[in-house]
Assembly symmetry: C2
Amino acid sequence: MNFALGIDIGGTKVSYALIDNNGAIKGDISKVATPKSAREIESLLKNIILKFENNIEFVAIATAGTVNNENDKVIGSTANLPIGYKDINFSELSDKKIFIENDANCAAWAEYKIGASKDCKNSIMLTLGTGVGGGIIINGKLLKGKSGGAGEMHFVMSRNKRRQCTCGAWDCFESYASGNGLKLTATEISGNENITTYDIVDGAKVGNEDYKKALKVWQNDIALGILGLANLFDPDCFVLSGSMEKFVDVEEIERFVNSYVLTSPTKVYHAKAGNYSGMIGAVLLGNELI
Amino acid sequence: MNFALGIDIGGTKVSYALIDNNGAIKGDISKVATPKSAREIESLLKNIILKFENNIEFVAIATAGTVNNENDKVIGSTANLPIGYKDINFSELSDKKIFIENDANCAAWAEYKIGASKDCKNSIMLTLGTGVGGGIIINGKLLKGKSGGAGEMHFVMSRNKRRQCTCGAWDCFESYASGNGLKLTATEISGNENITTYDIVDGAKVGNEDYKKALKVWQNDIALGILGLANLFDPDCFVLSGSMEKFVDVEEIERFVNSYVLTSPTKVYHAKAGNYSGMIGAVLLGNELI
């Protein structure tokens, strides 16, 4: 069995582990806080890689932000990582080959190889968290577009400029389908400000009608977005992941989508490649591309 | 030089011509009214093919409706063609190989090979007519999805159920960006019912403020949809075709999209492969796929 070092670089922590070429983690998963400067991230990565260098074939990094089509450079969208992160020359961190890809794309790949969308050559993963991430697989290949950044789940859901999105545009899918979107929806319905997603979920459980309605509207917004994606991509399935996906009724979404879809019926699944699908997917994708 | 017979089957007419493998039409383009029954369409096609059979390598058909991934069968969305059209066994029409693909997909392919998106390996064509059609090219391949029907421009533009779309869902891009969408927008703004797109365009020219506003809102809706597609696909360019595209300011749309796009700047062009891009694209695509 051959191993790679999988590393997941997020805004709050860096996780890493040895992973075999079937995507199984061998031994411990280590975690450290993400350093506050690009230079410190660089030396952290060098130190981590040094420890494993003799036992691995390559290094696979899942990172926040957009990665280029050559999988060797971060090129954008790294608001939660320090300035200068984009300038790190990843290929110089080690003599071993370094493969890098966006974390949501890696997670989508893990679902396709060993998770909920296994063997679905056309599939779309949506990560419902504070924001919404995405990874799109077409004919067994990751959709990257001309620069590498394809799969941004920022398409308009309203023409009325109701919510400004984190991206600067108005009313993107992210601003309705994300955890923050749920909070805004609940505030619109209840009038309550400063609520958390847990206030909403727990409130709905004990019968708060406003919060029950907010969850329903939120889920419907997710379903509307998925319907559009189903008409554009005609995928075998959708996979929902992220901290918010457990509050979603995938069967109800699937029924809604298939009652309107123009292309052909699709499936909607909960993710099942687990919390480390980012680094696992990075290794599985690196296996094929390097 | 080798030739194929290109045929375009639309709801009102069937057009055909000899086309060489560079996409140039040789000789006349013939047109006949689309017969009212599937059986008559079948015998019309047989007769047309018979005339050319000895001079061609294959037959390439661009058709309204969805075509399967094997390019030999129409599988859906043929509201403007007779019942039974889907059951035609195209491969039995002749001993020559028959290649069939959706007309919007064929037109997108013609733009990619010889038109406005030439050499743009990632491009999206939008046909703005009575409805909105589309063809999406990713990495030099047509996006077909699992069944063959990908590229339907039916994604939500509003959460408020303002307009029911021809597809049965509410507020799809098509119901805002199409000619019919423009009419609805103009009616909303002016209060006038039963207006034509020419009333709107001509009225705007002579200073009708309502119609000027309607055209502006309509164009903005097109731009909003394109922004979402740019974030999803990160294409090199968009190509606008169809009877309505001449009323659109592509430079203004491009500026709007690029001021918000998250992936990377894109281009927006007018189509230039001409009125017969459907049959030309069918031949050029058939050249590669059969």
